[in-house]
């Protein structure tokens, strides 16, 4: 147990190793560790941000869905209303058309009746004349009685 120059040699060795560690070992590895820590921290932060974005997007989507549902309900309501309205309009139009057709038919019938009456009227005179001819047998001269017959025809 004697102190001697060994101590000096060991101290020099010690400082050499300290220098080696300080220059070649420590900074590189600590740098790598710190870079990785930063990378992980960044990743976690990005994950958190993405999670929040997802949350916001989900809220937005839910809101949009609710809006869309409301809109759809509105549109369906409007469509139903419109359909009812259209049916109503069609009914009215049909009714009017029917009435118009009925009126037209009725007018035509009346015209026909009038025309038939007219025809009958002229034919009744002729028939009366023929009948009278048959009854009177030549006694009646159409020319003589023309005025009278015309008068009768007018009265019918």
């Amino acid at each position: 147990m004697n102190l001697n120059v060994t101590m000096v040699a060991q101290a020099i060795t010690f400082f050499a190793f300290i220098w080696f560690c300080k220059v070649f070992v420590w900074p590189q590895l600590i740098g790598a560790i710190e870079a990785r820590q930063k990378h992980i921290a960044d990743g976690l932060a990005a994950g958190e941000e993405a999670r929040q974005t997802l949350h916001r997007t989900q809220e937005h989507v839910e809101m949009t869905i609710v809006q869309a549902r409301d809109q759809a309900t509105d549109i369906i309501g409007q469509a139903e209303q419109r359909a009812t309205q259209m049916i109503e309009e069609a009914k009215n139009a049909a009714k009017l058309e029917g009435e118009r057709l009925v009126a037209g038919a009725r007018a035509e019938i009346e015209q026909e009746i009038a025309r038939a009456k007219e025809a009958l009227r002229s034919q009744v005179a002729v028939l009366a004349m023929v009948g009278a001819e048959q009854i009177l047998q030549r006694e009646v001269d159409p020319k003589v009685h023309a005025d009278m017959l015309a008068n009768l025809q007018r009265q019918l």
Partner: protein
């Protein structure tokens, strides 16, 4: 073994605790313990070379298992230093790492059975009286402790300035009254002297004592079959317990280094 003459317990233990010396000068101070220095350098080159080899291929991406193991070590040291040293760890970090790894490796030489190490050094290296554990040489532990102590003085002056440090020496811990300056300086002197002493002797004592217990057990193993069995079993037990001592002493040495550096950086 070098001692071919008579193998007594004393000569056996003495032989294993003798350093291989070379003389660089006339005065006893110029004796160099070649075994301590060369073993320490070899272990350092292996240990720090391994760290360098791993760190050279280090990536900040997904680390390999090898890199993860080294990161575990460095993160452990960094965490311990962070606990006591509040400041830029660009120097204290690698200093503590160096202390921890180097002391751990040097202490671990204790696990190699002394006669196996002896067989290697005498038959392969042809070096007799080669003590394999550098930290059981007080020169090594004092070299480390005094280096840390010098760094402590250096940072005291660098951080606080010479005046600031002198003020601290004279005015703490009892107060700045000139009447108690003498007590302050005495107190601080005791502290500054005891720091490297306790730092160096704690490590030296633990490892040296551990080695002696191993030697006693191996000596018992030389007494016959029964002695070999019991010596072997007990040596195994002691070796397992010694893992704690080796790790703990390296850890304590590192922590004290960090604490002393922290005290040098913090003013009272």
């Amino acid at each position: 073994m070098a001692v071919a003459q008579e193998l007594t317990p004393t000569s056996y233990i003495g032989h294993h605790l003798t350093n291989r010396t070379i003389s660089l000068g006339d005065h006893p101070f110029w004796t160099l313990h070649l075994d301590s220095v060369l073993t320490a350098i070899t272990l350092g080159v292996i240990g720090f070379g391994f760290l360098w080899w791993v760190v050279r291929g280090a990536t900040s991406g997904v680390p390999s298992k090898r890199q993860a193991a080294v990161e575990l070590l460095i993160d452990f040291v960094d965490g311990q230093v962070k606990g006591v040293f509040h400041g830029n760890r660009a120097f204290v970090g690698p200093l503590s790492l160096t202390v921890f790894v180097w002391v751990l490796l040097m202490n671990s030489m204790d696990f190699i059975p002394v006669d196996l190490a002896g067989a290697f050094t005498s038959n392969v290296l042809h070096q007799h009286e080669w003590k394999p554990v550098p930290t059981s040489d007080i020169n090594t532990t004092f070299a480390l402790a005094l280096s840390v102590w010098s760094l402590m003085l250096f940072y005291n002056v660098k951080v606080k300035g010479l005046g600031g440090w002198m003020h601290e020496l004279f005015c703490t811990p009892f107060g700045s009254n000139p009447l108690i300056w003498i007590f302050n300086i005495l107190f601080n002197a005791v502290e500054y002297i005891s720091k490297p002493l306790s730092h160096a002797l704690r490590l030296y004592g633990n490892i040296y004592a551990g080695e002696i217990i191993f030697l006693l057990l191996w000596m018992w193993a030389a007494t016959g079959v029964v002695g070999s069995v019991f010596g072997g079993v007990l040596a195994l037990g002691w070796a397992i317990f010694h893992i704690l001592v080796v790790g703990l002493q390296a850890y304590v040495f590192m922590m004290l280094t960090a604490v002393y550096m922290a005290m040098a950086h913090e003013s009272h």
